[in-house]
């Protein structure tokens, strides 16, 4: 009988192993940065004063944010916010501003900027401007 009870527990445990079906709504910003920067090299953080003064970016609705770019024009942004609609609008204006700069200085970047990747995971917004944006995002998904 003892053996029988033990068997019952083992079978139950095996079956329960498959349980637990939560969605992934949290993002480790640092880890995500690391994943992105395996493909995008020499990324430098755009400081808050430049974001506010040069690009008129309203940072007040962002709980956490990291925006980095490199000299090739690759860019990514990871933003945590509880007001995604407002931040999306803010980022839309931010990209319009970059587009204006690019029109004058780097017209070859316009297409890649237009086809930028925009994703949301829970309270996080992710933007990637790179020709490899989809590939990079797949890596982020696989890490979750």
């Amino acid at each position: 009988m003892k053996k029988f009870i033990v068997l019952l527990f083992v079978v139950s445990a095996i079956i329960m192993t498959g349980c637990g079906n939560d969605n992934v709504s949290k993002l480790d910003i640092k880890n995500t940065e690391n994943i992105i920067e395996k493909d995008l090299k020499d990324m430098k953080e755009v400081d808050d004063s430049s974001l506010e003064d040069v690009y008129d970016l309203d940072l007040s609705k962002m709980d956490e944010h990291v925006i980095k770019q490199n000299e090739d024009g690759d860019l990514y942004a990871i933003i945590k916010t509880s007001d995604k609609t407002s931040v999306k609008n803010v980022m839309e204006k931010y990209f319009e501003k970059i587009q204006q700069f690019n029109k004058n200085y780097s017209p070859e970047r316009l297409e890649i900027l237009d086809s930028r990747l925009e994703k949301e995971i829970g309270d996080y917004l992710i933007y990637i401007v790179s020709k490899d944006a989809s590939k990079i995002y797949d890596k982020i998904v696989k890490s979750l």
Binding site: M1, V11, C19, N23, L117, K119, I140, L144
Partner: protein, 404 residues
């Protein structure tokens, strides 16, 4: 140890329960072992007009990745409504499924476009004229007529004000834009000739009136300029060693033309003379011919000359002199007093930007109509006579640079 004794009847019940459990477990096991995880939330709000961007998903059977085998279907539409994105994995007779709800609704307010500049300047006393605006909503269309415009501008009072534009759409989304309006005092460039005054503008950059410092101060100063400076030397109001000049000088030719250094009996470019003699104090008069240049060319050349002097002789204290006025009436070079006034304001702005001093000598050479006083000028209307030179000299001596 005491052996656990279970009654046969109880044993039978346990056995049945276990078999029932085992049966359902086997039946339901695909739902337990096959695991589809959605990346991001299972309820997504999408703004009307925005494109749905799949956040991703992961699927596994035990720890084996089967994400590639998941089929994604959706009934998404651009219209307002609630839609499903479903993620399926077929396993024999089982369809393991996850659903993500996508709610498309109007989440953003109308877009307000302000015509004209978002930051405006008004001269005190002039009416604010609205440059215009337009409000367009993705769903409700043109809402320009519904925009509420408010402002707190007091055109009689200097200060910064705001004009606010507010409008909401049918969904209740409110949009707001702001135009900043600065009410400023009248700029010297806008003043009539008889009202022209630099008073109140960059006062800290102007040399103010002091006690007469006499020749001990004056003789330390090199004065650079055009024919008016040459004549100041020729008329005996400036020592030859301190007069570096050439007729018709302007801020552009100042870089390339060789100037007479009368006391040294030599001729050289200004920057070479600065480098060689490193004067303690230097008054730079860009010359009346500078007013023939465009404002941009003038400022750019004047600015770069100051930079070069600072580089060649960092200890030289530079004073920018105003361009002298002209007397009323036509002159052979078609110099115009209102343009000279404009350039003197530019020189003052430049002095402030370069953190050097400005000598507003023009004020002492003018009559009540804002032109050069006839008594100080010769017949050609733009060259000073000896009396004019003496007035300039006295002005320099009574507007002393501190610390010299």
């Amino acid at each position: 140890m005491k052996k656990l004794i279970i009654k046969p009847k109880v044993k039978k019940v346990i056995m049945i329960c276990f078999l029932v459990f085992l049966f359902f477990s086997v039946l339901l096991s695909p739902f337990l072992f096959i695991h589809i995880r959605l990346i991001g939330e299972s309820n997504i709000s999408l703004d009307y007009g925005s494109k749905y961007s799949e956040p991703g998903y992961r699927a596994s059977i035990f720890h084996k990745d089967i994400t590639d085998k998941v089929k994604v279907e959706d009934n998404l539409s651009k219209k307002i409504g609630i839609y499903d994105v479903s993620y399926h994995y077929r396993f024999f007779i089982y369809d393991i499924k996850k659903i993500r709800k996508v709610t498309v609704s109007d989440l953003t307010g109308p877009k307000i476009d302000l015509k004209g500049d978002k930051e405006l300047s008004l001269t005190v006393g002039t009416q604010y004229e609205e440059p215009g605006y337009e409000a367009i909503d993705k769903l409700d269309g043109n809402l320009t007529q519904s925009v509420k415009v408010n402002n707190n501008i007091d055109i009689q009072k200097l200060g910064e004000y705001q004009v606010t534009y507010e409008v909401s759409d049918k969904a209740g989304n409110v949009s707001r834009e702001v135009r900043k309006v600065k009410v400023e005092k009248m700029k010297p460039t806008q003043m009539a000739i008889d009202n022209y005054s630099l008073s109140g503008w960059y006062d800290s950059s102007k040399l103010s009136q002091t006690n007469n410092a006499r020749d001990a101060y004056f003789n330390q100063i090199v004065v650079v300029g055009d024919s008016n400076i040459k004549n100041m030397y020729l008329n005996g109001y400036l020592d030859g060693n301190n007069a570096w000049a050439i007729p018709c000088l302007n801020s552009e030719t100042m870089h390339s033309t060789e100037l007479y250094l009368y006391g040294y009996g030599s001729k050289m470019k200004l920057i070479d003379a600065v480098s060689k003699y490193k004067p303690k104090v230097m008054i730079l008069n860009f010359g009346t011919f500078s007013t023939w240049l465009s404002e941009q060319v003038f400022v750019s050349n004047a600015n770069s000359m100051i930079e070069e002097i600072k580089k060649q002789s960092p200890d030289t204290q530079i004073i920018l002199s105003s361009i002298y006025p002209i007397t009323k009436g036509k002159n052979i070079n078609a110099f115009e007093q209102d343009i000279i006034n404009k350039f003197n304001f530019l020189i003052l702005e430049l002095a402030d930007k370069q953190k050097i001093k400005y000598l507003d000598v023009q004020e002492v050479l003018k009559d009540k109509d804002g032109y050069g006083k006839d008594a100080y000028f010769v017949a050609d209307k733009f060259h000073l006579n000896p009396l004019g030179h003496s007035i300039v000299k006295e002005y320099i001596k009574t507007h002393v640079l501190e610390g010299i």
